[in-house]
Symmetry: C2
Subunit: 233 residues, 2 copies
């Protein structure tokens, strides 16, 4: 069922699962199990529970050792940008795990196979399975290859929470009022909308951002405001 995936894991990452039922479990979505009464396996959720913790510890340990001079604030910030939905979804896609998910019919129809939240779960479940099958050391080697190597490319910058960074920066000398206000929304093709949001500090405009949701527009505004305020610092 996973011949091509096994081949890829072996050739590209030197991973050979001893227990292939673990790999299958990591790729099985709950409704697939419900819809296939003859299917004897479980869905991925227990492995996801384990893999979530394995990702946290592996990343924390790697950063702790790699950056002996960083304080815990710097370590935490980088870890947060690495251990999160979009970063994990990108890794699932890089390994083409999305192609192999055993997905319920309804989820397939609604486009779940390409949804970040599912691909994040699948990544964590895959790591949980890898940990059980191959041990902590192999997980670390694998994560260095596919994930930690990306630190040097600035890959995780895109996942930085600029709303929090902006708030932290503005409140460093005490409480201030930061507000995000939708100032425009317009229709574009494909029935999609573009929102424009303005961020203000005590009613003074700091930045304007656009996005396909107000949330995305707020992030864009925060990023711009933060980068303007800290330019040259």
């Amino acid at each position: 069922m996973f011949d091509k995936l096994e081949k890829q894991l072996s050739e590209k990452y030197q991973i050979e699962f001893k227990d292939l039922s673990l790999l299958r479990e990591a790729l099985t979505q709950a409704n697939y199990v419900n819809e296939h009464t003859n299917f004897t396996g479980r869905d991925y959720q227990r492995l996801e529970f384990l893999g979530d913790a394995v990702m946290q510890q592996s990343t924390a340990l790697y950063l702790f050792k790699r950056y002996p001079d960083w304080d815990e604030g710097q370590l935490t910030e980088l870890r947060i940008s690495m251990v999160q939905t979009r970063a994990f979804a990108a890794l699932s896609r890089e390994l083409h795990l999305d192609r192999y998910i055993l997905l319920g019919r309804g989820e397939e129809r609604s486009g779940a196979r390409n949804r970040d939240s599912l691909l994040e779960d699948i990544w964590e479940a895959f790591i949980g399975a890898l940990f059980l099958d191959q041990g902590a050391e192999k997980v670390m080697t694998f994560l260095k290859q596919v994930m930690f190597s990306k630190i040097d490319d600035g890959f995780y910058d895109q996942f930085v929470d600029y709303k929090s960074k902006l708030q932290e920066y503005l409140q460093r000398n005490g409480a201030v009022t930061i507000a995000y206000t939708k100032v425009a929304e317009r229709q574009i093709e494909n029935n999609e909308q573009i929102f424009t949001v303005e961020v203000t500090l005590d009613n003074k405009k700091l930045g304007v951002g656009e996005g396909k949701s107000t949330k995305d527009a707020e992030k864009a505004a925060a990023r711009l405001a933060f980068q303007n305020l800290t330019k040259g610092k």
Copy 2:
């Protein structure tokens, strides 16, 4: 400096630190470092960053293996009740780590040595140090001895978030209005107060609780309401 602690760790838990500076780092609070300019070590915060992740993974792995039939919801609920401030503070006290903290003067005066939030940090830092010094397996053996063994005594029930559990239970068929109202407060000895809080569902009384803060009283009310509603289920 830590002779008695070393003796206790060795005799009671078969732990002998190879690198005692790690043990010291785990017990050093930031202001102590600032106040002692000759002090060459670091404070505990980097080790806390690591130990936090080690506690998450160790607990997740233990629960995953111990409860092969539990779903991820059950696993998560027990993990949350175990991996949290009050549970970790209790463990710090059990090992008498509180006695050995190198604490800043201001913190000492304000009673930080007995504060749960500091003792939680110290516990995580201690586990981070133990992990670096002795490895994952020794951490697991130690946690089984001091922490996981307490599952069977019902020790973690006291840390269950009954307000969330009650809300989840009541909202299982859709939104409802749950309200907590302070109905009384009275003075007791030592200048302390006892608050009485009532929890209602759409204005119907579900339970009444008392506590030394309104928050504690709300929790007590939620616990009673939840236990009444789910009795015999």
